[in-house]
């Protein structure tokens, strides 16, 4: 079965330093992968997606992720953290066949940004 594993439940970084949120996937074929962000008491916002095109994917707010098949990883990065990046981040894999698709979420990584 397809799944994603987020390796860190909490990550703390200082403002202005790089962010790395790790995600590994399990899939028998080339997956569609996503990162969503959830700010406190807010809904889920799409950051970026990988759907078998370029392996380096750029998203909103300066985030990017690289699909590495050899490592079955899809880590999320940002060169310089901002206070507003503090939120919960979910790595997601899409599963299904034509007719219906559903999203399988990772357990989430809570990012804390220190002043």
């Amino acid at each position: 079965a397809q799944s994603v594993t987020q390796l860190d439940s909490h990550v703390s970084v200082s403002e202005g330093t790089p962010v790395l949120l790790r995600c590994n996937y399990s899939s028998s074929y080339s997956p569609s992968l996503f990162w969503y962000v959830q700010h406190p008491n807010k809904g889920l916002q799409l950051l970026l997606k990988y759907t078998s095109a370029a392996t380096l994917v750029k998203g909103i707010n300066g985030f990017e992720a690289e699909f590495k098949k050899s490592e079955t990883s899809f880590h999320l990065t940002k060169p310089s953290a901002h206070m507003s990046d503090a939120a919960e981040y979910f790595c997601v894999v899409r599963v299904g066949t034509s007719g219906t698709y559903k999203y399988i979420f990772g357990t989430g990584t809570r990012l804390k940004v220190l002043a």
Binding site: G43, L46, F90, T100, K102, Y103, I104
Partner: protein, 114 residues
């Protein structure tokens, strides 16, 4: 980003009562999904709905749950007899156009069962 709206934003109910959560997806869309997030836990798939039929449902989606499209535009999730463990954030989502498109999520309805 395409807009999916949900009402109410917060629903408080007594255990055993029925609740109806509403979603207005991207206009005229035929596909939509419901997900649930219990406080502090990950988001879980509940059900997918296409063209007035359930296409897939999870183990969570038991006989207490139902989905409908009552008026051609709104979609509803009904819980017939709520339990304490139904307290969660409920999100609806739908793809922009085709079923293969990225799913856009509504802001969620926080359900509190007392």
């Amino acid at each position: 980003e395409p807009e999916v709206t949900q009402t109410p934003s917060h629903q408080v109910t007594q255990m055993g009562q029925e609740v109806i959560l509403r979603c207005v997806p991207i206009s005229n869309h035929l596909y939509f999904y419901w997900y649930r997030q219990i406080l502090g836990q990950k988001v879980e798939f509940l059900v997918s709905f296409y063209n007035n039929e359930i296409s897939e449902k999870s183990e969570i989606f038991d006989d207490q749950f139902s989905v409908e499209r009552p008026d051609g535009s709104n979609f509803t999730l009904k819980i017939r007899s709520t339990k304490l463990e139904d307290s969660a954030m409920y999100f609806c989502a739908c793809p922009k156009r085709e079923v293969t498109d990225t799913q856009y999520f509504g802001p969620g309805t926080r359900l509190t069962v007392l």
